[in-house]
């Protein structure tokens, strides 16, 4: 933002000094479904990759000595960043959808606005686990069908196969397109807004706020 850093190579794009509120959205889905592509399409920065150490018990390490044992494992994930205004920065995380990564999501999901479940209609079963986990966690989400040119399924067929309630938006997208990926994020945030407005209107934290069929 200022020239004070010109003595160092511009290897990264820093945030403005007023940035003070980080938000999170998670993009989750099966192997190769386009998570990294979607993050790249809308990010202000080239997606970065990092990793977290997990103990087998599934927590992040509480005690660094745990790293020495054989019980820890590392999980990589990538992320991008969008500056929304002078104060607010949205971080987008691409998280692997396989069941063995559930502990990573549980940490990523904590405090997220919501999630995008990317599905490839040729491999719908790959997204079952992610959807289950999000519902279990009470994290609001939408489903986006990334078009890989597979056999056409109607929205109803996809909804049925995924056992999605009518209240959860289901849209088509092309993760390679910035406009399309931006549209996916807008659909998610509009959904969150509707849920939030409904829960405010009903006064208390009713079960309808999370758009789930069952109460906690």
């Amino acid at each position: 933002m200022d020239s004070a850093t010109s003595d160092r190579p511009a290897v990264r794009t820093p945030l403005g000094s007023s940035a003070d509120n980080g938000l999170k959205i998670v993009v989750v889905g099966g192997f190769g479904v386009g998570k990294t592509t979607m993050v790249r399409s809308v990010s202000d920065i080239r997606p970065l990759n990092t990793e977290e150490i997990m103990t087998q018990a599934g927590q992040g390490i509480d005690d660094p000595s745990a790293v020495r044992g054989k019980t820890s494992t590392t999980v990589a994930f990538d992320f991008g960043r969008i500056s929304l205004n002078a104060h607010t920065v949205l971080y987008l995380f691409g998280a692997p959808g396989q069941e063995r990564f559930w502990f990573l999501w549980d940490r990523l999901f904590a405090g997220t606005l919501g999630a995008v479940v990317l599905v490839d209609t040729r491999r719908l079963a790959d997204s079952w686990y992610a959807i289950d986990r999000l519902e279990h966690h009470g994290t609001p989400f939408i489903v986006a069908r990334n078009d890989f040119g597979g056999p056409a399924h109607t929205a109803e067929q996809v909804r049925e196969a995924l056992d999605l309630s009518e209240t959860i938006p289901l849209i088509d997208c092309d993760a390679r397109s910035r406009a399309s990926s931006k549209g996916v994020l807008i659909t998610l945030v509009e959904h969150l807004h509707a849920l939030s407005a409904a829960s405010t209107a009903s006064g208390t934290s009713t079960a309808s706020a999370t758009a789930r069929k069952t109460t906690p």
């Binding site: 999170k24 660094p64 790293v67 949205l90 966690h137 994290t139 939030s196």
Partner: protein, 118 residues
């Protein structure tokens, strides 16, 4: 180069964090923005120096981890040391509600405006 990286053996990571048990690393979210409050000084641990340089501008915990090529958990320990010494400050996310609790509509409207302007 002996820069710590993801291929480090666990003993190296253990040494890096001084083998201490975690103090207040829960204070840091992945998207907590970290800001340096002082210049790096001679004699500081090299990872601390790198963090102080990176965080001349607000930088999220997860970005620090990516740039230092270190696992997030290790970076949180380094950051809690720097925080305890007053060498950094932390700007925590204001949307820290539990998963079942939704963000308020004002915040979501701001997000929508930002996204539509992309």
């Amino acid at each position: 180069m002996s820069r710590p990286g993801r291929d480090d053996d666990p003993d190296r990571l253990y040494t890096l964090t001084g083998g201490r048990s975690r103090a207040e690393t829960d204070a840091f979210d992945l998207v907590t923005l970290v800001v340096s409050e002082c210049e790096p000084a001679t004699g500081m641990q090299s990872e601390h120096v790198r963090i102080l340089r990176l965080c001349e501008h607000p930088t999220a915990v997860v970005e620090v981890a990516a740039h230092l090529n270190l696992p997030v958990s290790i970076v949180k320990i380094l950051l809690s040391d720097l925080l305890a010494l007053g060498r950094i400050t932390a700007r925590h996310p204001r949307m820290t509600a539990g998963a079942a609790q939704l963000p308020d509509t004002d915040l979501l409207e701001q997000v929508l405006v930002g996204l539509r302007n992309l």
